[in-house]
């Protein structure tokens, strides 16, 4: 076990954890932040997408020990029930979530896109979400939600 210090959603945190856990396990089992989901643990489903130093990454592929001194943002940091992020509003209004398992990862991937490109094209949205699997929606509603959040026409 080692103490790990890093920035989580803009706040400095210290957590005691084994060296060999991955970042999504650290978040869920050691910091009780259950918004980020564990899916395939192979980097292919995107349900554990978080931002590491500002870039979307698969938290299951990040060895937690490597985040010392770095910055992590998770779904818990992008909006609240009282003040949801425009993407979260759009996902509820445009049926972007069904079972919800992929939603946190979808939102983090989509937020990264909108942080870079305020008004993305449909193609740019599809590309940005190409690492995130959804087994319910067939993706159309998710793409429409992201375009709506950006104020682009679907």
């Amino acid at each position: 076990m080692n103490t790990l210090s890093f920035s989580l959603n803009g706040r400095e945190v210290e957590v005691l954890a084994p060296d060999d856990v991955n970042l999504v396990t650290l978040l869920r089992d050691h910091l009780a932040m259950y918004g980020t989901k564990i899916g395939c643990e192979q980097g292919t489903c995107g349900s554990c997408t978080v931002h590491l130093d500002g870039l979307p990454v698969n938290a299951c592929l990040v060895l937690a020990a490597t985040i010392a001194g770095r910055s992590v943002h998770t779904i818990e940091g992008i909006g609240t029930l009282e003040e949801p992020h425009p993407l979260q509003v759009a996902f509820t209004e445009h049926y972007g979530a069904q079972c919800g398992f992929c939603t946190a990862g979808m939102l983090m991937a989509a937020k990264s896109l909108l942080d870079r490109i305020a008004k993305p094209t449909r193609e740019e949205v599809v590309d940005a979400l190409s690492g995130n699997l959804c087994r319910c929606t067939g993706y159309q509603k998710i793409v429409e939600s992201v375009l709506a959040a950006a104020g682009s026409s679907p």
Binding site: N2, T3, L4, S5, D19, D20, N22, E41, Q42, G43, T44, G46, T49, L52, L55, P56, V57, N58, C60, L61, V62, L63, A65, T66, A68, A109, D127, A128, S130, G131, N132
Partner: protein, 285 residues
């Protein structure tokens, strides 16, 4: 708490010598984690130790007219978007940009992707066509490995466990291209890939051609295709004729991604497209 104070299973050295010293007793090099951590996740096994090379400053990319030097720690996302690589090693930029998906490309490194040595490695195919040279750093200093000597087979390389791949060197090439055929456009290992680098004279005649193809277990040069191109004026007929010889050079693999028959049909098409794209006669998707 600094890296120095961390337990010995995990080390994050800031000096190359410290990293090389730490690579003993079964410790593994950790770069982006997309291969090693994924394997740890699925098998539940742990290597004897982990040496994370993310603090060694291996991300740097430097280019001049004669050489592009890509730090092995550069992410695939960076490699795909770097202006010098896009201009002088377009095949590699394209291969890096098509691998897995965006969030994996932010983690995965060029060096890690080469060392993972997956069958028909996309970046391996591109670096082979670009005649890249790899720098492996070990106890004895730096060792240069031509890309054609990297693979000892699928998932095996000639880099020893106490060496670190630190840099990829590529001579800038004005004309290069990469083509990947996969079951879908993201998160799919290639069925077949192909990369080409051409030098074409003022008269439109091919002066130099390097063609690499991933259809067998590892990316391979296709000398018969190259011979079919050199000295001829490039057009679609010449490209297709030359590409049809690719099966003289490679034996298509038979696996869960595709049958050898299917690969034997697709490989000449992929090679022809790569050659035409390198020659500026066809756009790649």
């Amino acid at each position: 708490m600094g890296d120095r104070d961390r337990g010995s299973w995990f080390r994050a050295p800031r000096e190359m010598k410290e990293a090389i010293d730490a690579l003993s007793d079964g410790a593994r090099v950790l770069a982006g984690g997309t291969d090693l951590v994924a394997t740890m996740n699925i098998r539940g096994e742990r290597p004897g130790g982990v040496v994370w090379i993310g603090r060694l400053g291996l991300e740097r990319i430097a280019a001049d007219d004669d050489l592009i030097r890509i730090g092995a720690g550069a992410s695939l996302a960076t490699v795909a978007s770097d202006p010098a690589i896009r201009a002088g090693a377009a095949a590699l930029a394209a291969a890096a940009g098509k691998l897995a998906g965006p969030s994996v490309r932010n983690l995965a490194t060029l060096g890690g992707s080469l060392c993972a040595a997956w069958p028909r490695s996309d970046v391996g195919c591109a670096v082979l066509a670009l005649d890249g040279v790899l720098v492996a750093t070990g106890r004895g200093g730096e060792r240069l490995i031509p890309m054609s000597d990297l693979y000892a087979g699928p998932r095996r390389t000639t880099i020893t466990p106490d060496e670190i791949l630190t840099e990829v060197r590529i001579r800038p090439a004005a004309r290069s291209s990469f083509v990947k055929v996969a079951r879908r456009s993201s998160f799919a290992l290639p069925v077949v890939n192909a990369a080409a680098r051409l030098e074409i004279g003022q008269d439109g005649v091919v002066a130099e051609a390097v063609v690499a193809v991933g259809a067998g277990s590892v990316p391979e040069r296709a000398p018969s295709v190259e011979e079919g191109l050199i000295g001829r004026a490039l057009d679609p007929t010449v490209a297709r004729e030359a590409a049809s010889r690719v099966l003289e050079d490679v034996t298509p693999a038979d696996d869960e991604h595709a049958s050898s028959w299917y690969r034997s049909q697709v490989a000449p098409v992929a090679v022809a497209r790569a050659v035409l794209a390198a020659g500026g006669l066809e756009a790649t998707a």
